[in-house]
């Protein structure tokens, strides 16, 4: 869920930039280290990023009639680890802002935080936790579904913090309700789709 350019007051833009920065820096250090060992890492990360971008531009019909854009961040987190995925998500978000006007530049920090950090870290954590106890499909579904859901919750928190009217908790409730209607089915859809993708990849 992209927060649009201009939507957040500047103080919050700045805060989310600052909160995202350490993770991005850590992810970059990891990428530089990987690229030093394997020179093919950069082209491979680049094509994976391009895949994430194209995947997110495929629109998926959902039950409520709205459209979902599978993010591929969960998939990235399982493949490259969450910190590297955060950097990839940052690049993808810049491309989306410039090429599609999805999201924005002042809101980039906030979007990276919700979609590039919270989402992948949740998905990765859940996958790691459930992988041994549950079947792969269930584990992948939970990772993608909950990763998605946490992304939306984070976005709601970010919006409620920016517009605490009349208070933070009331505002959060309102944003969560708006999202529950539109985004919950999408999270289910994305979870299912990720399972289908994952199964296809394993079969091929």
């Amino acid at each position: 869920m992209h927060i649009m350019e201009g939507f957040l007051p500047w103080q919050w833009c700045l805060l989310w930039y600052l909160l995202s920065a350490p993770v991005i820096v850590y992810g970059l250090i990891r990428i530089i280290r990987i690229a030093d060992e394997k020179p093919e890492a950069k082209p491979l990360l680049a094509v994976s990023g391009a895949f994430m971008f194209v995947l997110s531009s495929l629109k998926l019909p959902s039950v409520t009639g709205s459209c979902s854009h599978p993010t591929g961040n969960g998939l990235g987190a399982v493949l490259f680890g969450p910190a590297v995925t955060s950097v990839m998500a940052l690049i993808v978000l810049i491309f989306q802002a410039i090429l599609l006007a999805h999201g924005g530049l002042t809101t980039l920090g906030a979007n990276v935080f919700s979609m590039g950090i919270v989402g992948p870290f949740c998905a990765w954590g859940i996958y790691r936790l459930t992988r041994s106890s549950l079947s792969t499909s269930v584990s992948v579904f939970l990772a993608a579904f909950l990763g998605d859901l946490m992304t939306y919750v984070t976005t709601s928190v970010q919006l409620a913090l920016a517009f605490p009217i009349p208070g933070f908790s009331e505002a959060l409730m309102k944003f969560m309700i708006i999202f529950a209607y539109t985004q919950l089915p999408l999270a289910v859809a994305e979870g299912l789709l990720t399972v289908v993708i994952f199964e296809n990849i394993l079969k091929l």
Partner: protein
């Protein structure tokens, strides 16, 4: 459902400001954007939206029909925000229309956010429609962003277009065989498409790497170039954004 068409890239390569320095266009976009976002009143962002739109249409020569369609999505979203804010984000009820309570402070917040969205969007659109995204990453590299990030981004750029092309052909091939008739079929088809695209992306990664290796790639991408902003560009930004800042100071009450 269909595959996105990236027409922004086409205009980024074909507009009257294509040859202006990237640093100039980026500075103008970002400084103006910041002015728009820190403004406490809707007036300055509205002025920004108007000026930037005029620049896009009459200086960069982007066709109005295209720009209006491009701006329709954020404008629609902004209006929706305005309505939601007016209805749900206020404490001072002003009136009741058709059983819905309208808040005056909600309306104010809504107007401010709407105006900031349009101001910010017009700056973003200015950059997006005049500057190819690869030039932006080159500029970021010059500004000190680590090459690991800019190199991956630059390598990504071409792959995006190759994959979009491939994904749309694959989508058409599935559609021909009724792969998108009904929700169940659609999910299965899209899953198959994404899975295949993923495998392809790795194969492409391998061949691209081989072709890079064939041209003596050693793990880092050296790059040529080039032009800096120049005095004229800097002067224009100082003038343009200086006036906006002055307006900002007036409207925010600092000088009153």
């Amino acid at each position: 459902m269909r595959i996105m068409n990236i027409s922004v890239d086409y205009y980024a390569h074909n507009n009257s400001l294509r040859e202006s320095s990237t640093g100039f266009k980026m500075s103008l976009c970002i400084i103006t954007m910041i002015i728009s976002v820190i403004s406490p009143t809707p007036l300055i962002p509205a002025i920004v939206a108007v000026l930037m739109t005029l620049t896009i249409l009459f200086v960069a020569d982007i066709p109005a029909s295209y720009y209006l369609r491009f701006a329709a999505v954020p404008a629609g979203f902004g209006l929706l925000t305005l309505v939601l804010m007016t209805l749900f984000f206020g404490v001072n009820p002003a009136a009741t229309i058709m059983g819905l309570r309208v808040y005056s402070d909600g309306l104010q917040t809504g107007l401010l956010v709407f105006s900031r969205i349009m101001g910010g969007f017009s700056c973003l659109a200015f950059l997006a429609l005049t500057t190819p995204v690869n030039e932006i990453f080159h500029e970021l590299g010059r500004l000190g962003v680590p090459p690991a990030l800019t190199e991956i981004a630059l390598l990504m750029y071409r792959s995006i277009f190759v994959f979009i092309e491939e994904a749309s052909v694959m989508y058409h091939a599935q559609d021909t065989r009724l792969g998108y008739s009904g929700l169940r079929n659609s999910y299965r088809s899209l899953g198959l498409l994404a899975g295949n695209l993923f495998i392809r992306s790795w194969l492409r990664g391998e061949t691209v790497y081989r072709s890079m290796e064939s041209r003596c790639y050693t793990g880092s991408m050296p790059s040529l170039r080039k032009q800096s902003m120049g005095f004229r560009g800097m002067a224009m930004i100082i003038l343009f954004d200086g006036l906006l800042v002055t307006g900002l100071l007036f409207t925010s009450g600092v000088w009153l």
